[in-house]
């Protein structure tokens, strides 16, 4: 069958290229999620702070990084970053174009975007924590950082699980946009294969299925996290 030759690992098969693209997608997404978690937490804290300038900064960040199309942010980081690197290179006497590594630029760009989304998720989760429980922590003299780590974070994670799952899925799909940096991730590989063979439907369906494979792994992780966090919850709505 033609399909099996085209998708296989033989001479005429696209298997190797596509699986490599898939691995690259996974790596970029994981890296960007990690970057986004750190920055997102800081932004969420800023938005919840009672200092007006912190709130304003946080709001500006989330407005811009959520409001501007992802593609443009990737362009700015990649080309902006690259010209910075090139300028530094020239200052040190190295001629010509010095690219920012595609992987780094891509992960950073998607990470910055995902930070804005994660910040909103964390903020919503924070608001769901009963106030009294935080008061109980302050009343025993628990310092703010410890209260954050022991009382707030565990509960934020509990309420944030579904939202984080959403962000993960978003970043997975945003990672498809960084093909403009020349990174041959899953989406670009799919499109190249489709354009080269003119088998559009087949490769798009295969690409879609491979994204679903990635999702199904993550779904497992999120489901087990959710089940764990439900243990302490009174039997409530929206959980099965």
């Amino acid at each position: 069958m033609e399909i099996f030759t085209l998708l296989g690992f033989g001479e005429k098969g696209w298997g190797v290229l596509i699986l490599t693209g898939m691995a690259l997608t996974l790596c970029v997404t994981l890296a960007s999620l990690a970057i986004g978690a750190v920055i997102g937490a800081i932004i969420a804290a800023a938005k919840l702070s009672n200092r007006w300038w912190a709130r304003a900064l946080g709001t500006a960040y989330t407005t811009i990084f959520r409001g501007v199309p992802e593609l443009l942010i990737i362009y700015l980081i990649y080309f902006g970053g690259s010209s910075a690197v090139t300028a530094i290179g020239q200052a040190m006497g190295i001629q010509g174009f010095l690219g920012m590594p595609s992987f780094l630029a891509g992960a950073l760009a998607v990470g910055l975007i995902s930070a804005a989304y994660q910040a909103e998720v964390y903020r919503g989760a924070y608001r769901a924590i009963p106030k009294g429980e935080i008061e109980a922590a302050s009343s025993i003299g628990m310092p703010p950082m410890r209260c954050l780590r022991r009382i707030i974070l565990p509960q934020i994670l509990r309420f944030a699980i579904p939202g984080l799952n959403n962000v993960w899925q978003l970043s997975l799909k945003d990672s498809a946009l960084i093909s403009v940096t020349g990174l041959a991730e899953l989406m670009r590989t799919t499109q190249v294969a489709a354009g080269s063979t003119r088998q559009y439907f087949m490769f798009y369906i295969v690409g879609g299925l491979l994204y679903l494979v990635l999702t199904s792994f993550s779904e497992r992780v999120f489901n087990s996290a959710e089940r764990r966090s439900n243990k302490s919850m009174p039997r409530g709505m929206g959980q099965v």
């Binding site: 811009i64 409001g67 593609l71 579904p162 899925q169 690409g207």
Partner: protein
């Protein structure tokens, strides 16, 4: 800076803005309805409904919108059955297809967002409502939905803003909205950064306005968390005195 060029670019992009807004508002509306349906199935006790909802969310959230849209628009038309059925006159239209795939996709995302809102509803308050004889739609409408919506709003605003940007894909199916027009200009002029900057400014303004409205709603809905002191005294009470 080539101002005449920027100006003509901006003009072209502004002309495409109504298309973007139309795609956006219709897909948010239908996607929202769909999400309500899906989330109801997702939390129901009926195992068939629940698994259908799980599957739906899995597929539509897990695969790229680009691929979904491609398959809906170009894929469905490959089947003679569909081409000769009553849905074809609608599916034939690019705009309908674009709204359809945007709504299908946001339906999956929003359903999960709504579900996380449901998880935050204090069970005690639901019990109080049941004890008062509320159930089904009434319970949902009066108690669960208002509380869940408050909790889900931050995440839902994100989804809404995301939808504004997702409409950019509609040019794939020949609906020429802002991004599509921008890309067309780029392939005519190769002035990538300038055109993209104009488009970005436009999206930023749109999203800023939308986020502003959403923040206002959030502020209003969270009255119960604020102290009465923060409630602005009404002009009338200054004249007539307040009863408190």
């Amino acid at each position: 800076m080539d101002f005449p060029f920027l100006l003509s670019t901006m003009k072209a992009l502004l002309a495409a803005t109504p298309t973007t807004l139309g795609l956006f508002s219709l897909s948010i509306f239908f996607g929202g309805l769909l999400a309500l349906l899906i989330v109801t199935m997702r939390v129901s006790n009926n195992i068939v409904a629940r698994n259908f909802a799980k599957g739906y969310i899995f597929v539509f959230r897990g695969s790229p919108l680009l691929i979904q849209m491609f398959l809906v628009f170009y894929g469905l038309g490959q089947f003679g059955v569909i081409r000769h059925s009553f849905v074809w006159p609608a599916l034939r239209e690019p705009f309908v297809c674009a709204v359809l795939s945007l709504a299908l996709c946001t339906g999956g995302y929003s359903a999960e967002i709504f579900r996380s809102g449901l998880r935050a509803v204090p069970p005690g308050e639901v019990e109080a409502a049941r004890a008062a004889g509320m159930s089904g739609f009434l319970l949902l409408r009066r108690i669960i939905a208002p509380i869940a919506f408050r909790h889900a709003l931050p995440a839902y605003s994100t989804e809404i803003v995301l939808m504004v940007k997702s409409t950019a894909l509609a040019s794939l199916v020949t609906v020429w909205e802002i991004t599509g027009v921008a890309q067309r200009l780029i392939s005519q002029t190769y002035r990538t950064m300038e055109v993209f900057m104009c488009a970005a400014a436009l999206y930023l303004i749109l999203n800023f306005l939308i986020l502003q409205v959403l923040a206002l709603i959030e502020h209003r809905l969270n009255r119960h968390d604020r102290r009465p002191a923060e409630r602005k005294p009404s002009v009338l009470s200054a004249f007539f005195g307040s009863r408190a």
